[in-house]
């Protein structure tokens, strides 16, 4: 499994310009204070009436086309269907989707496995939110649900990689307590560095 994660990371480094967590638009999260010391969110709500958002866990292969559609939009090089199936068929309970009405607007794909035989490590492989539905905390909610599920399964830590230039993703995760564990030089073959973000649960 260890080699697989490394290989996956290598693959991500090979797909130029890919963010492992799907590129969020630069203005998806309001600049400045996301939460002050008292944990209150000062995020500006989206304009207009806010339709209810449903969050569901992956149920069947019928969800697959929408997941792929959502994730693929932000990637320059595509993942094959097998990559999606590797994560989602092995860890369907760690794949969450967001729905507005009949439209699927967000998805997160994770895995949870032993790292070096000792540490139970959760890995956020993909995250994407439809560009028309930004600024509604969908991304944060999906991540929170996934972490909660992994925490309940006794994960010790959660990791992911993202480009050092992906400021919206960095803000989203750092607000949840992720810190930058390692800098990965030239992780992406176009020369861009990545950061490994980590949240320690224990």
């Amino acid at each position: 499994m260890e080699e697989c994660v490394t290989a996956f990371q290598e693959h991500l480094s090979l797909t130029e310009g890919t963010t492992s967590v799907g590129a969020l638009e630069p203005n998806s999260i309001k600049d400045g204070l996301y939460s002050n010391c008292h944990g209150l969110s000062s995020l500006e709500p989206a304009r207009g009436p806010c339709p209810p958002i449903d969050y569901v866990v992956y149920s069947s292969e019928l969800n697959m086309p929408d997941i792929i559609r959502l994730i693929q939009r932000d990637l320059s090089e595509p993942y094959s269907i097998y990559t999606y199936r590797y994560f989602i068929h092995n860890w369907p309970h760690l794949c969450y989707m967001a729905r507005v009405g009949s439209e699927w607007v967000g998805a997160i794909v994770c895995k949870l496995d032993y790292h070096k035989k000792v540490v139970k490590r959760g890995y956020i492989a993909m995250l994407a939110v439809d560009s028309n539905f930004r600024k509604r905390r969908i991304g944060s909610t999906l991540v929170t649900k996934a972490i909660q599920a992994m925490k309940e399964l006794e994960a010790d830590e959660i990791v992911l990689e993202t480009e050092i230039t992906n400021k919206p993703a960095l803000r989203l995760y750092e607000n949840l307590g992720f810190v930058r564990d390692k800098r990965l030089f030239r992780y992406y073959l176009n020369g861009v560095d990545a950061l490994r973000l980590k949240l320690w649960l224990k």
């Binding site: 499994m1 080699e3 697989c4 994660v5 290989a7 996956f8 693959h11 090979l14 797909t15 204070l33 996301y34 939460s35 002050n36 010391c37 944990g39 069947s60 292969e61 019928l62 090089e77 595509p78 094959s80 097998y82 990559t83 199936r85 590797y86 068929h89 092995n90 369907p92 949870l112 496995d113 139970k120 929170t144 972490i147 925490k151 399964l153 006794e154 050092i164 750092e174 607000n175 949840l176 307590g177 810190v179 930058r180 564990d181 390692k182 800098r183 990965l184 030089f185 030239r186 992780y187 073959l189 176009n190 020369g191 560095d193 950061l195 980590k198 949240l199 320690w200 649960l201 224990k202």
Partner: protein, 773 residues
């Protein structure tokens, strides 16, 4: 955790005979089964390279199985997968969906609508010129090859860089002497660079890809012969230069310019290559001469890149470059193209590399371990390419010889190279003058037993100290992780030194003779350990790894523990050196006129050896104390982004951030509770008071730095390092300016705490300037 795997393996329908589509051993007349499954993995990229075999249509009987396949899949329920055990994540990532244009590199629309040239097709069709190549093309070929080399040295594969030059696929078939000679040299240059990097052992996959894809690198041509081939070409060009001196004849001028451009390039390549060969053989003066000679050509090269034929290598071009020539050698999921550096940038890269190599040779002048360590540290501070980093590891012979596997020939003259353990003994003696090293003819230090224990200790020190030097050869991001592992090595040797110190201490308490042995060996090790710990924490700032809400515990650890311990270490060393010197002095003066001796001593008040370094640490401690108070105040005023507490736990985070320090016994790790205590106590004071106190800390550190500023050397005179961790003049000057800034800003904030702040690392990548936004 093994979650329930919903992809069950369905029972395959019965087969008449299992056949792997790739198994060529079965005869073609065997009937194909109704459904053919491959056993195990389908090996991607196992297509045959080289000459064509019989067409595949002749090897097999093809049957269409669409209908049987669709029938068979009806047996599967929604979401059920036919899944071979060996098809894991790696296979999933490498697989492609055939005829998906985004993934299938073999589709015509992805191949520029033409088949990529190989050497043979290019030669047959006349696309590749092999004789009488015009000068403009020659310049372009060389420039573009150099650009490809640089791109390779920035972490890309040879297949997508240098080997896109078709001339390199079969250099002996080239007639044109310039291109033939430079092609052979390019291949040999690749070979020597691979050798240097592999022996240096300081590169990672992001730095360098060594794979040669079975290309021949002209091993049958010796370095001397390759050099002389180029020399001949140089001589021919010089003849042309002599014959085209006329300034009035336009044709001659043009020829002259071309010949001049080519000459510079050929000479540069020859000298650069020979320099690498010389340095690997440890012939330093020759290597230096050749590097200087290479550097002389750079200016002409840079000013003549426009004389080469301008091409777009993504299309067919007259200079023999084929971007997709080697695509079949690469896994299908590799990105299709690598962006090659510009010719101008490539010249700059080679210039910098040659300069850094020249600088690296200065290490051979240094005789003591501390000066060598400082050299390695300073060398690693500016971004150097992987070639010079690796070369430095080879040039410092005591280290290199230690890392050699016995029996393998290393091209080094062993006779005059000091043993690493002896250098370490000298360093320890110079650091703190332990009587076990200085007074080995006096009891109790003159026993064989003691001498053996001391020798054994220093032999064991070779590993951590050798790894310490090697650590500074890695790229900065990897270096931080290496330090974490290195601290474990030091923890192990610290146990040895503790026992040794105890033993020597108890043996030397009794009796007269030289000074008793105190914690000398441990202090020497501790000095290095503490410096590594400081470097580990500070490199996190340089690599942009810390969130602002983490600054309080980081700065606290530095000013409360690490810098004070370092200062204590050096004081102890200081004191012992002075004592040792005084004792030696009194032994020398025994019997002399005591009054004369007293007066003489008064006149020469020797400065304490570590006063400057201690001062530098005091300045940094005060600086960090200032940051700490500033951060506590800013947090109180809610000016610092704090994470949502649902999952974040500062105690857990703290423990993990400082985990590399946990393996050490000395210094003991400071638990989170201690930090919290200090933090909460500090936070009791009103913010304005804290900010004022921070301002004073910044002022004090500025004053401290200013006292040593005048005695520091500029960064450019690195090789005159005195073997002390002093930093260079520019570095300390930038700290002074940061202190000035922060002092003022903290003062402003103390009067008006509603302002927002940001942290600016442009002046100094380790210590930020606080800016009011």
């Amino acid at each position: 955790m093994e979650g329930p795997c919903p992809s069950s393996t369905a029972q395959p329908p019965p087969l008449t005979a299992p056949t792997s589509p790739l198994d060529l051993s079965h005869s073609a007349s065997e009937p194909a089964p109704t459904l053919s499954l491959s056993n195990g993995r389908c090996a991607a990229g196992s297509g045959r390279l080289g000459g064509p075999g019989p067409p595949l249509t002749d090897l097999y009987q093809w049957r269409e199985i669409t209908q049987p396949f669709l029938e068979a899949t009806k047996e599967l329920v929604l979401g059920e997968l036919l899944h071979d055990d060996m098809f894991g994540l790696f296979e999933a990532m490498s697989a492609i969906e055939m005829m998906d244009p985004k993934m299938d590199a073999g589709m015509l629309c992805n191949r520029q609508n033409r088949k990529p040239h190989s050497f043979h097709t290019a030669k047959e069709s006349g696309y590749l010129q092999l004789r009488a190549i015009e000068s403009a093309h020659q310049i372009a070929i060389i420039d573009h090859t150099l650009a490809c080399l640089v791109t390779w040295l920035e972490g890309h594969s040879l297949a997508q860089t240098v080997f896109t030059n078709l001339y390199l696929h079969s250099p002996y078939e080239i007639d044109d002497p310039i291109i033939k000679a430079s092609s052979i040299l390019t291949l040999k240059l690749i070979d020597v660079i691979r050798d240097i990097l592999s022996r240096g052992s300081v590169y990672e996959e992001e730095d360098f890809q060594p794979l040669v894809y079975n290309f021949k690198l002209c091993e049958d041509i010796s370095p001397l012969k390759a050099g002389s081939m180029l020399r001949e070409v140089e001589d021919d060009l010089q003849r042309v230069l002599r014959n085209t001196k006329s300034k009035t004849d336009a044709q001659q001028s043009k020829e002259h310019a071309m010949a001049s451009a080519l000459f510079a390039r050929i000479r540069f390549c020859r000298m650069f290559y020979l320099a690498l060969i010389s340095l690997v053989k440890q012939d330093i003066p020759e290597g230096q001469r050749q590097l200087s000679s290479a550097l002389e050509q750079v200016k002409t090269m840079a000013s003549s890149t426009h004389l080469g034929t301008q091409v777009d290598i993504s299309k067919e071009n007259p200079i023999g470059f084929e971007r997709l020539a080697n695509q079949r050698l690469l896994p299908p999921t590799f990105p299709r193209y690598t962006e090659i550096k510009s010719n101008e940038a490539a010249v700059q890269f080679f210039q910098r590399t040659a300069e850094h190599l020249l600088e690296a040779t200065n290490v051979t002048q240094l005789n003591t371990f501390p000066t060598v360590l400082e050299f390695f540290i300073n060398f690693s501070a500016h971004p150097t390419c992987v070639v010079s980093r690796s070369m430095l590891q080879l040039l410092y012979q005591p280290l290199y010889m230690m890392s050699q596997v016995p029996g393998v020939t290393c091209p080094v003259d062993k006779k005059n190279v000091p043993l690493f353990q002896d250098l370490l003994k000298d360093a320890c003696r110079a650091f703190i003058a332990p009587p076990a090293l200085t007074s080995t003819s006096y009891p109790p230090f003159n026993t064989i037993e003691i001498k053996n224990s001391v020798d054994s200790f220093f032999n064991q020190c070779c590993r951590p100290m050798g790894l310490l030097l090697q650590t500074f050869g890695h790229n900065q991001a990897r270096r931080r992780d290496k330090i974490a592992t290195l601290l474990e090595e030091f923890a192990a040797i610290q146990e040895v030194s503790d026992k040794l110190d105890d033993m020597l201490n108890s043996m030397s308490q009794s009796g007269d003779g030289p000074r008793p042995h105190m914690l000398f060996f441990s202090t020497w090790l501790l000095y290095h350990v503490l410096r590594l710990m400081v470097r580990y924490l500070l490199s996190g700032f340089e690599l942009e790894l810390y969130s602002t809400h983490e600054y309080p515990y980081l700065y606290w650890y530095l000013y409360e523990l690490l810098f004070p311990w370092l200062i204590t270490c050096l004081h102890r060393a200081d004191t012992n050196l002075v004592e040792h010197e005084q004792l030696a002095e009194s032994l020398r003066n025994a019997g002399k006129n005591k009054k004369k001796v007293k007066n003489a001593n008064k006149k020469k008040a020797t400065p304490r050896p570590y006063s400057k370094e201690i001062t530098l640490f005091q300045g940094k401690a005060s600086l960090c104390a200032g940051y700490f108070k500033l951060m506590v105040a800013l947090k109180k005023e809610s000016k610092i982004l704090v994470p949502d507490p649902t999952f974040d736990n500062e105690a857990v985070r703290y423990e993990h951030r400082f985990l590399p320090f946990a393996s050490l016994f000395t210094p003991p790790i400071m638990p989170y509770g201690q930090f919290l205590e200090v933090h909460d106590h500090t936070a009791k004071s009103p913010s304005s008071e804290l900010l004022l106190a921070a301002s004073k800390d910044f002022l004090r550190s500025r004053q401290i730095f200013e006292t040593i500023l005048t005695s520091l050397v500029p960064a450019s005179t690195l090789n005159s390092s005195v073997g002390q961790n002093l930093g260079n003049a520019e570095d300390v000057a930038s700290l002074v300016s940061i202190c000035k800034n922060n002092c003022v800003v903290a003062g402003i904030l103390s009067r008006d705490s509603s302002r927002n702040v940001s942290f600016d690392f442009t002046t100094n990548s380790t210590f930020p300037s606080v800016k009011i936004t």
